[in-house]
């Protein structure tokens, strides 16, 4: 890598890390979700500063030019980050759906006359004594 390429890469990594740190400080990004980005920034910085590792990676990927290894690393990290975002989105989607459904069910219960409500703590499935789920003797001894 030419000194110019190296300097540019270092500046990019430092700016990226600074932005992440700033967002976390502002609480606009949670520590949990900043993790992958921090790994991304630090990993890229390591790649740039540690030339042997970069060369090794370039050979591993069959890249002719070392800078390609930087791009490959960056690309793979971005793919990882966006897959992670998709799984989080799935989780949140399910969470929002469940909450909205609970809200609808609760609202309907509030509108019912009190005597029509099942007693509090009404569970969906009462475990009967002797059934498979109910084994009070287990774990007692």
């Amino acid at each position: 890598m030419t000194p110019r390429q190296e300097a540019f890469s270092i500046v990019v990594c430092v700016v990226l890390l600074a932005v992440i740190a700033w967002l976390v400080r502002q609480r606009r990004l949670s520590e949990y979700h900043s993790g992958l980005w921090l790994v991304f920034g630090v990993g890229l910085l390591v790649m740039v500063l540690w030339y042997d590792a970069l060369q090794f990676l370039a050979r591993l990927a069959g890249a002719v030019v070392v800078t390609t290894a930087v791009f490959i690393t960056a690309f793979l990290f971005l793919v990882a980050v966006s897959i992670h975002t998709s799984t989080e989105l799935t989780r949140l989607h399910r969470l929002v759906r469940t909450l909205a459904q609970e809200l609808a069910l609760l609202e309907a219960r509030l509108k019912e006359p009190p005597d029509a409500r099942p007693p509090l703590g009404h569970s969906v499935e009462q475990t009967k004594p002797g059934s498979e789920e109910h084994r009070p003797w287990e774990g007692m001894g």
């Binding site: 909205a100 609808a104 029509a116 099942p118």
Partner: protein, 256 residues
């Protein structure tokens, strides 16, 4: 009929007959939901009707309530599948023994509720699927729709070995066990039809097709129009694929 009467009819239904619930998911169906609810209540005396209003901006909820339905309102539009699942959750928590589901647009004829529920109440099967192609009435379905039905039939058959003639039918009846199963996270709640059949079959539930009467949707306001069918087929193929590569679910595994 006010909420107080509804409570009374709940109690009345426990004498002898099984407690039945009809779930009607509705989005912007103010024009038709009232007559659908009344017709369903007339077709099944003593049944409760729950309309799941999926964030409608029109008078769907008040129309449904006026016809004597219990109304569950989603605070935002969550989609057809999610609305159905809210109905299942309600059925499970309130302890209904048999559950039927039908559309709010008047497509599904309430007179078919009885034949749909019969095999469930006799404990012959766990789920009854209303089929329009099995019945005597001839239906003029658009070509795209017929092709779609063929494709999904073939897929369901390939995935489970079960023959169905109308795999995209939303006119169904099921036992409490099935409702409880579908109230968990296993439910593919984006579009729920052929993929649910595969899910249920793989979970070991018994499914039977029952001939039912369906009408063309009033005003042709079916969701299978324009470019939507193509997108729908794509999503359903994806859903079926995902359903078949997942491990077979066990009923009673998750929580409602």
């Amino acid at each position: 009929m006010g909420p107080a009467d509804r409570g009374a009819s709940n109690c009345g239904a426990t004498s002898g007959s099984k407690r039945r619930l009809v779930i009607i998911p509705a989005y912007q169906e103010a024009d038709t939901v009232r007559s659908v609810v009344s017709a369903a209540r007339k077709a099944l005396p003593g049944c409760d009707v729950v309309v799941v209003d999926d964030g409608s901006l029109d008078a769907t909820a008040s129309e449904a309530r006026a016809a004597g339905a219990i109304v569950l309102r989603h605070p935002a539009n969550l989609g057809y599948g999610a609305a159905l699942q809210t109905g299942y959750k309600y059925a499970v928590r309130m302890g209904y023994e048999v559950v039927a589901q039908m559309d709010a647009d008047g497509q599904h004829d309430p007179s078919s509720l009885r034949p749909l529920l019969a095999p469930i109440e006799n404990a012959e099967v766990d789920m009854a699927l209303g089929s329009r192609t099995l019945s005597q009435v001839r239906y003029h379905l658009p070509l795209a729709r017929r092709v779609g039905m063929r494709i999904f039939s073939a897929l369901v058959c390939a995935a489970t070995g079960m023959r169905v003639t109308d795999p995209t039918s939303g006119f169904q009846a099921m036992s409490a066990a099935v409702a409880k199963f579908l109230a968990t996270d296993v439910f593919p709640s984006d579009y729920a039809d052929a993929d649910v059949l595969i899910l249920l079959k793989r979970a070991g539930f018994r499914i039977l097709e029952v001939p039912v009467v369906m009408h063309p949707a009033p005003g042709g306001r079916s969701m299978h129009r324009g470019l939507r069918p193509l997108y729908y087929v794509f999503r359903m193929l994806l859903s079926i694929l995902v359903e078949t590569i997942r491990r077979a679910p066990r009923p009673g595994g998750g929580k409602a």
